[in-house]
Symmetry: D2
Subunit: 328 residues, 4 copies
């Protein structure tokens, strides 16, 4: 039985990107059944109660690479059951080929996920043709799934050029995208003709929203450090757009921006990409709002100074959240 | 029950890298059970009868990325049964994390594979620590497997530096490596202290063998275009080393080298990496000695001019093979 | 005798980047005295009469690399004499070391140039320390010069990171910058604390101006295709900022943006950088408003299809200018 | 009056690459007349008496980028006068365009230099066409000069592909090349058909010489740390080639190779390229055989730990030289 698909307009506000909480010992290759189901449920329920507008999961920091198949099913089920239809839940079904992706995406639909945050098989660098056909094939095979393009150039060896966006915008299931940067935002928006809601990262949301009025949603991995920061960002931008006065939103960015300073080792995105999972999980746990747990192998090793930078970023985010609580 | 491991010295001569032959229709995402078992058996038996010294499989062109789990089991079983102990058979068990790799590698041992040609999980670019620990973990988890390091920088986002080689050389199961290039061959040989047999590609074998006397084996994807070319290369280098007269081996390279000219689109290795699978399978089938069949999705799309370059390369290799038959 | 320096606030509006018009035969290594002085004077006077707010010259497309020392002096003198103080004139004094740059910059001051659009010696990729010290040294040596940082990553092998901007902002002479992209615009603006006026390219000006209210100037190489396009862009953004209604400015970008489509060969900035000079000069001459003349060696060779794309871009810009004339 | 050109066969043995010794204070932008003429003469005379076969100069570490025009003339004259025809002297005349290069190369001929070690104008990344035409133009303009292609990919933004080599091999003046790496040595040798003597770096000479019998010369920046190391390398390879027994040459590489370990910061060639000049000069002076003096601006800044690695490399080289003296 078919269900109704989302449209780009349905995607609004603050979309939290969540980790896959892990039990102690999960860094050992002998570990099985590593999903911390209780913490997962607590996290999702807490985010929804805090007012986030959607859930994205099982991307890079969500450890889609390192969860076993069985763990993925358990985690997806927990997300869907906890959300219970209150907000859209996108899981991640990226595999290293089309057929495995189709099979897992069908499972996601069976379990009740709203959509998939879907990257591209990453063994070979895809051509534009290969990338587009992949999204077409999965969408044809699983017509009931909503698709968020997961536009991560480092993970998927692909620079997501304009002619890619123009083509995937023609696929009805593709409604949103975890987008990166603002360098090509305006031309990419021109290419997609309103058919995909592009989500910038929280740190870019202010700038992106000012550049184009269609930008009214963003992804936020900081939400699990303290959700109030993410929802405040959302609300200040909405108010600014209504009033035409961006000064408060800009002032808020002056408080939010510095929390990112220590997240990127030596300021390098490439270096960050190598340790992404460990850094993001360390940052999240340091926020104190949740416990992301250890990283699954092989991505459990990270230089301690890098981790400390990430933790500092998480603590700063949480402090900003607490300050906002007091200001309210 | 434990079995005896190989040593670096056991790895000699021409090691054929084979494709995973596919049935018609295998490019469709609906296809299942795509392994052409008969052609697989014919290919392996033919290579062994032609005198190759080992089999490497299920790397990039062997479509490890795009075979389903069940297909991998079928293919491995066919390789092992056909080889029947006549030559070592390395399969590929690279997955996108440590635990899945361990599980598949154990299956490979159960099936009777000699070893695994093992790459590194490729979602994130690994640090040296992550890469080394991955090989340690798999070797600890599956002590009966022989490991060939699969040193492909484009696939695995890793440049395989000297301190990587120095560390994996300490792992007893690591006995050989599908190596790439000769730029750092001598320092890498110094780092591994004779514990790993480095296999250059056939096109580099002459130069590598001249550079260092320990180089007495190579990998050859051209073997399935016409095995006599690969075994002739092996034998001419062996004779040269014995006699000290390299003129015949060098003259042979003058015939072999030009067959590679059209394999790399616009001479670019990066571009080749994007279309590696389609190009290699087209080249192999064009050789006329076997039928590699179509490519599995999503890597089944490739510009026709690139494919034609690859086919030309395969035909030239086969023609050289036929000329050698006549000269014999 | 010292003169008063500009401040960041003095830099406003449309700053035209101009070529160095060349006489016929200038592509031959035997050519001398290649500057087309008459066309240079006509171009500068025309731009000023058309209302541009400043002149930038002798960057990459201005052939700073390929003009002889004597030609540089002649060209600078012509610019200064023609402008006659009506608008600021920045020349380019980038050499491959500090001492030659100092010497040429002193000449520029003697001739009467307002400032230098100054890149970094490009033989070696500079560290941040080297880059910052270079700007400090030149500014110390030539205290009367105004400096525009010429932030071209391909030419100068430098990615102009945030800590570079924070440091050069402390140098009094550094008042503006030919900036590239908008990816890091907001954090870079935070780093410079209002001390440098960042100039985005015309194609990015709308987006950059929306992102931050401090952006009220831009560089435009299209101005010499038809200056009215550049001044219209300037005026529409100014009106939008005043009224709060950006719809007309956005609609104008919908007409301007497509003129860039064919300028970048295969959409690649890297490829564009290789042929930058030939492409820009072909585009400019194709606009019909001026004659940029041939390119000086060795950068006079460019594939014809690339040139045709550039010419099309110039013609489209000129057509937009003519349409604006009729709409006025 | 025309003189006879060299041929590729005339280029043999150990070619020392020399720095441009600088007087104290040369790092200051106010410094003029910075060439330490006495040390230059002592260095060249010492190298020739120690038995080197040729002199290469004024490349990257030779500070071609940062010497003034007048300093270049003084330095070239000193080299030529000191060598006094005992060995060929190649100076560097690379400028940022064709015409300035022609002018400086003519001066080099007037002064009596044997040849120019010539790189490519480096403001824009050259296409193959641009690079080839540049060498053609300079050779046409200065028919009496011998040309050594200066194949430095980082400096000249060019990867020196096979079709470049095939084309420059047709230019009579091009007789040799400062070559880098061995990755593409055999195919490049095939492309040049014996018309250019490719010089690998000293550290690659053993491997390159084993790969191909035509390799009987190399460049060596270590020569000025202690020339006996370079000439010993030359002689051991020559003896091995004659006798067919490479064991002594290989054993020598086991002593020479480790001296390079600390020269490359964090083992990175890219990082080395940024600090090339400072690192090489520090290494040379640390050898104790000569005093290279300070670096000219802007390339005089380098992190101290990197410098210490370079100095260690120089000391190790010198210690090897002293050990060889004792063994003699």
């Amino acid at each position: 039985m078919s269900r109704e698909l989302l449209t780009a307009d349905d995607v609004k506000g603050a979309w939290a990107i969540v980790p896959t909480p892990a039990k102690q010992g999960a860094s050992d290759w002998r570990a099985t059944n590593t999903v911390d189901v209780d913490e997962t449920a607590r996290m999702v329920d807490g985010l929804i109660k805090a007012g986030v507008d959607g859930i994205l999961s099982m991307g890079t920091l969500g450890e889609a690479a390192t969860m076993t198949y069985d763990e993925k099913l358990v985690f997806m089920q927990t997300l869907v059951d906890t959300a219970a239809g209150r907000v859209p839940v996108f899981v991640g079904t990226t595999c290293i080929n089309t057929r495995d992706t189709v099979a897992l995406t069908r499972k996601a639909v069976d379990i009740g996920a709203t959509g998939t945050m879907l990257g591209i098989p990453m063994w070979c660098a895809p051509s534009v043709d290969v990338a587009v056909q992949f999204y077409k094939d999965v969408s044809e095979a699983v017509p009931d799934i909503n698709v968020a393009i997961y536009a991560n150039p480092e993970a998927f060896k692909f620079d997501f050029p304009r002619n890619f966006w123009a083509q995937v915008a023609e696929i009805p299931q593709v409604v949103t995208a975890k987008y990166i940067g603002v360098a090509t935002l305006l031309p990419d928006l021109a290419a997609i003709k309103g058919r995909i809601k592009l989500l910038p990262i929280d740190f870019d949301y202010y700038g992106a929203a000012r550049m184009d009025d269609s930008i009214n949603a963003f992804w936020t991995s900081g939400a699990v450090c303290h959700p109030l920061v993410s929802t405040t960002l959302r609300d200040l931008v909405a108010q600014a757009r209504e009033s035409g006065d961006w000064s408060q939103a800009k002032a808020f960015m002056g408080r939010l921006g510095p929390t990112a300073a220590t997240l990127f080792p030596n300021g390098s995105f490439k270096e960050f990409s190598t340790y992404n999972i460990a850094l993001e999980k360390a940052r999240m746990t340091a926020g104190g709002w949740m416990d992301a747990g250890p990283c699954r192998p092989p991505y459990h090793l990270c230089p301690e100074p890098y981790l400390e930078g990430a933790r500092k970023s998480g603590r700063m985010w949480a402090e900003l959240g607490k300050a906002l609580e007091n200001e309210a």
